[in-house]
Symmetry: C2
Subunit: 348 residues, 2 copies
């Protein structure tokens, strides 16, 4: 489905905007007193990241305004109501929220590494990491309050941001709850994925539409684009874990099969009567062998579970591309479609 | 300074509004799925609390609108621009933020009890407490987005709320930083107290003014009222720790002298050349005796440190009452003045 040129186009679009996003981080999140707090708050944002969500946001603004990519200053972007909007601040707000959730998630999961550097609660300490996350949380709302959009649009963007954050928390809670349950339905899993991962893509895509005064139908379509492509990304991630060789994955293939992690694949297999808990004997990813995984994959293929998940991811991407038809047909829209395809072609 | 009738009036005002605030919590924060998350998020709010900040907010609305206390539905409150505003949602938003900060602070300080019940991270676990705090954080912004105020006023209230939260985080970081430093200046301490404690009072008082479309001068004066009275409360708390008998305090008198906690009193004493670290020998509050405290208090009185802090608290309350002159002269305003006095007459 994805061609090399799709990937190249997406990576170029991300790269071309990354410098501007990084510069905006330094402008809008300066290192001020109390320095240790702000240093810890900026730490993960400064450690890197593809800036995929801000790229989606910035491309959406360009698609709505129907301007050539990178032709207009993101800080003074022409709104449809004649005003000027800092769409970069809106895009950055979502990246800052993403950073806050990663910092708190890493505490909860006790993950030691993130983006190749120690997690904030390891580089500093748990207390500082909690507080750094809390600081980013409100900073994101401060950014969204200062886009210069018409007040009703600015307020709506703030409301959407707040709802998005609440849903992310609910998604995280569902994820934890599902580890304890063995009767999760595929639809419940999709709801969890939507809350935990996809709403932030939905908000990243819809926020510029709100700020720039686009019609409600455009706002809704872009939100759906983000939800559909974000959900597809997460589902395909589960497929790739089972189908891509370990060397290419950068981790043991099939590691999701160890422990109590449910995926759309295992949930489907359970419904087909597969003894999912007995698929592999290994208790940790280290003792898992490729032969174990081959056997498990064969069983999952027999009942069509991997194909079920793959088809779900591809149909969600198709749906997300149809959502984009609410936008003018232009280069930025074409790049947004490419991003949706790219999201299911890679495992990052 | 405070008479019994002041205290009675304040307690009556708080009591008369508490039922409505508690009912609003159930309306605006219902126990929905995922239930464990929302149960943990509501836990501390449902455990009680005086509802002092919401009371300040609701009284401010009544003072601005110049209506008799409790005569108008807080959910449909008349704004000066002719609209109707849910000032209860605004008041509750601040209470929800307060609850989030307590949940995360209790994790950081590893405090086991809060409001007579186990802290959320003890009643549940640390991960759930982090997530419950995060959930309340965005819920507060959702509430503030839905007051029905004119969009420019709603947006401004959201911006103020975000700034308030960032300052609370900064105040918490300064508090931690100051425990490691021995060269903190009294003005730095006042800045910390303002950020950590007083801005939430400032926001509670100013939010209704913003939502109801009051003049900027009224907004600023009410914010100052909250900052001044909130700071006075915290400073007086330090005075009471040294001057009120243990039995009445409900904890060992002078317990602030143990450990590395700085107060305006100890910082002033340091400036006068007192060996603050040698004031008491005890290493914990349990081994502290009243005789130790008497000696320490005598030393602090000699250099005027306790009187310095007490005068600072009283002058801040006087200032906060002058701030109220921006409001019409009515019963609600008189109750706000009484609350400022009450804040320094009690140690809660």
């Amino acid at each position: 489905m994805t061609t090399d040129s799709t990937e190249e186009r997406v990576l170029a679009a991300v790269r071309e905007r990354r410098e501007r996003v990084n510069a905006a981080i330094d402008e809008d999140l300066p290192l001020v007193a109390p320095e240790r707090l702000w240093e810890a708050s900026r730490y993960l944002l400064k450690a890197g990241g593809k800036r995929l969500r801000p790229t989606v946001s910035l491309l959406t603004a360009e698609a709505i305004a129907d301007v050539p990519p990178l032709s207009v200053d993101y800080r003074q972007f022409p709104a449809l109501d004649g005003g000027e909007v800092d769409v970069m601040a809106g895009a950055l707000s979502l990246e800052v929220i993403q950073s806050f959730t990663l910092i708190h998630d890493d505490i909860m999961d006790d993950d030691a590494l993130r983006r190749g550097v120690p997690a904030v609660h390891k580089a500093y300490d748990v207390d500082t990491a909690i507080l750094a996350g809390d600081t980013l949380y409100s900073t994101a709302f401060e950014m969204m309050a200062d886009t210069g959009a018409a007040p009703e649009n600015g307020l709506e963007a703030m409301r959407m941001l707040a709802e998005t954050c609440t849903r992310i928390c609910e998604g995280q809670a569902l994820d934890v709850e599902f580890e304890r349950r063995r009767d999760v339905l595929p639809d419940e899993y999709l709801e969890m994925v939507e809350s935990k991962t996809a709403v932030l893509y939905g908000d990243a895509a819809a926020t510029p539409a709100v700020l720039l005064d686009a019609d409600d139908a455009v706002v809704d379509a872009l939100y759906a684009y983000g939800i559909n492509s974000g959900s597809a990304f997460q589902i395909q991630d589960d497929v790739l874990d089972l189908t891509v060789p370990s060397a290419k994955l950068g981790k043991q293939r099939g590691s999701d099969l160890v422990g109590n992690k449910e995926t759309l694949i295992t949930l489907h297999a359970r419904q087909q009567g597969v003894d999912v808990d007995g698929l592999v004997d290994a208790d940790d990813a280290e003792s898992l062998t490729d032969a174990d995984v081959e056997d498990a994959v064969a069983t999952l293929n027999e009942v069509g579970s991997i194909e079920y998940a793959r088809e779900k991811a591809y149909s969600l991407v198709d749906e997300s591309k149809r959502n984009l038809e609410a936008l003018p047909d232009n280069e930025a829209r074409s790049l947004l479609a490419a991003i949706a395809e790219y999201l299911i072609s890679r495992g990052y």
